[in-house]
């Protein structure tokens, strides 16, 4: 049975009988490319002074829902705990302690059903979460473009025999990447007939269109306040503008990484938290940490499955990891 949609068809049967799918030659190659990419990323980060840590899986709070995605709650000895939808709050704690850190962090987000057919959303996925203390978002972008270029170029070389079997030819990535602001991105899209809300995040289809128009890896920077989580730092010199970025793959593959300079001052975070309509009391340990003071940090996350999808030139993200969980589809 297939769920037909304008965008992508979810191969429900392949997902339900994944024990068969995983044995196909193509899946084997994809997972080998993924393992290679993971090794290359770790090598680069380790050699640049980043400390790999074990990721948190559950905690009293996680990143508040992103674009309408729901968190998973569990009963933790009578108290409610959340499964990490992103370990962002922990990254600030760890970078304050160790300076430069990263982890491969499994995240769960119960995305709205519309996300099932975008070809780029899974309910369970892994992020390479990177955070560095005492640097601004420009420095984080520089880390991101270097890391991504190194990874793509190295996988293209060392994984050539695998990519060849997939018929995939990767372009050479050379940093620095092109950078456009969110306002410029909205304008470019407007010129291509897309009328967007200038104060919201760019919707997925338009982001894909933009990635096709620009044709090379590029950053969108300076999102408007309200379009992103409370932890993206607002530029003190440009109220309403956040010091954050998305990094996009070329060829219409969409978002590669998302990052920002972090809001780290207690009173600012408190006010921003209210925007999500939540009671700040829920974020007790985090706010206490901020009140005692932490180092300013910047960082970003790279989705491993999206990276794999790009490297292998896959149509849809569910081909880019073992036992994929497509939103709304019950599968092992």
């Amino acid at each position: 049975m297939c769920v037909i949609n304008m965008m992508f068809t979810v191969p429900v049967e392949e997902l339900e009988k994944y024990y068969k799918t995983v044995r196909t030659e193509k899946t084997g190659i994809v997972l080998r490319v993924q393992a290679l990419a993971g090794r290359v990323v770790r090598d680069w980060l380790d050699s640049h002074g980043f400390l790999e840590l074990l990721p948190p899986i559950i905690g009293p709070v996680t990143d508040p829902g992103i674009r309408g995605a729901k968190q998973v709650s569990i009963d933790y000895y009578g108290r409610e705990y959340k499964v990490m939808s992103s370990a962002i709050l922990y990254k600030q704690m760890l970078a304050t302690a160790f300076g430069k850190i990263y982890f491969f962090s499994p995240n769960v987000r119960l995305e709205p059903l519309e996300a099932a057919t975008t070809g780029r959303h899974l309910a369970e996925f892994v992020q390479i979460d990177i955070e560095e203390a005492d640097v601004d978002y420009r420095a984080a972008m520089s880390t991101a473009e270097q890391l991504l270029s190194h990874t793509v170029n190295t996988v293209a070389k060392e994984g050539a025999h695998l990519l060849e079997k997939l018929g995939r030819k990767l372009p050479n990535f050379t940093p620095p990447f092109k950078k456009i602001t969110h306002a410029e991105a909205v304008e470019i899209l407007r010129q291509h007939g897309e009328n967007l809300n200038p104060s919201a995040e760019i919707p997925w289809p338009q982001e894909e269109k933009l990635s096709k128009i620009i044709g090379e890896p590029f950053f969108i920077t300076d999102y408007p306040r309200g379009a992103r989580g409370f932890y993206d730092r607002e530029d003190p010199d440009r109220p309403g503008i956040l010091k954050d970025f998305d990094l996009l793959y070329p060829e219409g593959y969409g978002e590669a990484a998302s990052g920002a300079e972090r809001e780290y001052e207690y009173s600012k975070v408190l006010a921003r938290l209210r925007e999500s309509g939540e009671n700040p009391a829920k974020y007790g340990w985090y706010l206490e940490m901020l009140r005692e003071g932490i180092r300013p940090t910047s960082g970003f996350g790279i989705g491993v499955e999206r990276l794999t999808r790009y490297l292998c030139g896959l149509r849809a993200i569910w081909e880019a990891r073992p036992y994929p969980k497509v939103p709304g589809v019950y599968s092992p």
Binding site: R67, K70, Q71, L110, P112, G226, R274, S276, P327
Partner: protein, 455 residues
């Protein structure tokens, strides 16, 4: 007279500790008998002849006495004032090729991103047991009638999201799905509130990713309502009384007057926070809603705050779909006496401010606060609101006569809105304007920016 369900409601109120006084006061100060009569007789209640009367024998006249002196200006000081010359009636006559009558008035309209068969929305009522218990009857009748309906705060947190936590109390999703599944045609929509405590469980995210609700979101039939206080207690958070079992279950999420784990008593005061707002916080909140829930309508509901104009300007600039203003007369499950007496702007003051704003803002308004009949609704529309919000009458109608009671009640409103709209020579509710009303007090007229009955 079928009084048992209504008596049941009152007995229920009386049985609850500490509510004896309030039940008696409610019966005395709220037009219960009027709503009861509408719910049981339907449109016959619009023309007040009882079974004993026969036309020609009854002598009727305008009810000019107020039941009790009011403490501040109310809608009772506003009258609908028909003209003799009615160019729009002439136009309607050209269209119909006959003299128009009141039933020719189109009550269909659009507001807040929803279409509606009438300029009426069912106010978001929350988790108060007396209301929650009959909420499914109202959900069904409102959906069938094709008018938008709200689901208030704390329902999911207190009564469960998709499973009942108490057999007698419907859970959140029953209220939402009963409404959505009974919609017919293009009219109606449900708007859902989330309190700080509901946000703990990410109610909106849960709704937005719920497969049963998704098709309705896709159809544009779902909205989220940011609640900025309510008429009966502007500046204060939700207050209610719960039994020990409920208090124990909710002890992690709400503040109680005593810790139910340590102090054993029958009833606990459950407090929730009013929420902290600045223009930056509210502005970003609306943006966040558009960003996170692009296929949902964004409604904002505020209490009668003195900075109404500033909030309205912000809502308009941030492209909220609608601003709902609940006047100080608005209903409540529980509110401190001092708040009911002394907090907030009366409805008529809110309406005056909206009248002045409506031309420079692109924003739909709804007002609520002790609105009971078609006259109240028409007056609210004349002040520039797109619809009127009603809450309590639906509770009384449901207790009086179940789903049928709510249907009957809505029918009386429709007939009265048509009668009064046609009386001022208009045949679309959206044509109503400030020229159709006048205040009985010249200084009130001046303050509101409308005519005085004295010309």
């Amino acid at each position: 007279m079928k009084t048992s369900p209504l008596l049941g409601l009152l007995l229920n109120l009386i049985r609850k500790p500490g509510t004896l006084g309030s039940a008696a006061k409610f019966a005395e100060q709220y037009p219960l008998a009027d709503v009861y009569s509408r719910a049981s007789k339907g449109r016959a209640a619009v023309f007040p002849l009882t079974e004993l009367d026969e036309f020609g024998k009854a002598l009727l006249g305008a009810p000019i006495y107020k039941p009790a002196p009011t403490r501040h200006d109310t809608l009772d000081s506003i009258l609908v004032v028909p003209p003799l010359y009615t160019p729009l009636r002439l136009k309607k006559m050209e269209e119909l090729m006959r003299e128009p009558v009141f039933s020719d008035v189109e009550t269909e309209c659009s507001f807040g991103g929803f279409r509606s068969t009438m300029p009426i929305a069912v106010a978001s009522m929350g988790s108060t047991p007396v209301w929650n218990k009959v909420s499914l009857m109202v959900s069904r009748a409102a959906a069938e009638a094709g008018i938008p309906m709200g689901v208030g705060e704390n329902v999911a947190t207190v009564w469960g999201y998709s499973k009942r936590v108490k057999p007698s109390q419907p859970c959140f999703k029953e209220r939402v799905m009963t409404y959505l599944e009974n919609l017919k045609g293009p009219h109606g929509g449900v708007f859902i509130q989330q309190s700080v405590e509901d946000a703990y469980d990410e109610l909106w995210n849960r709704v937005y990713s719920d497969p049963d609700i998704t098709p309705y979101i896709d159809e544009g039939k779902v909205g989220f309502e940011i609640k900025l206080g309510q008429g009966a207690k502007p500046g204060l958070g939700g207050e209610t009384l719960v039994d020990r079992e409920t208090a124990l279950r909710l002890s992690q999420k709400y503040a109680f007057d005593a810790d139910p784990q340590k102090v054993v008593k029958q009833v606990y005061e459950r407090h929730s926070a009013p929420g902290t707002f600045t223009p930056e916080i509210l502005g970003s909140m609306i943006r966040l809603m558009h960003n996170n829930y692009p296929r949902a309508r964004v409604w904002v509901k505020m209490g009668p705050y003195r900075d109404l104009e500033k909030v309205a300007e912000l809502c308009s600039a941030e492209r909220a779909d609608l601003l709902w203003v609940d006047g100080k007369e608005g209903g409540t499950g529980l509110s401190p006496v001092a708040a009911l007496k002394d907090l907030g702007l009366p409805l008529v003051a809110c309406l005056g401010r909206i009248l002045k704003l409506r031309h420079r803002l692109s924003l739909d308004f709804i007002c609520s606060g002790r609105l009971v009949d078609g006259g109240d609704i028409v007056k609210v529309l004349c002040f520039g609101c797109s619809a009127a919000g009603l809450g309590r009458p639906f509770v009384v109608a449901a207790y009086s006569n179940g789903v049928e009671g709510v249907r009957n009640y809505l029918e009386t409103l429709r007939v009265e809105v048509q009668l009064l709209t046609s009386a001022v020579g208009k045949y679309r509710v959206s044509d109503l304007g400030p020229e159709d009303i006048a205040a009985t007090d010249p200084s009130l007229a001046r303050e509101l920016g409308i005519d005085s009955v004295y010309g």
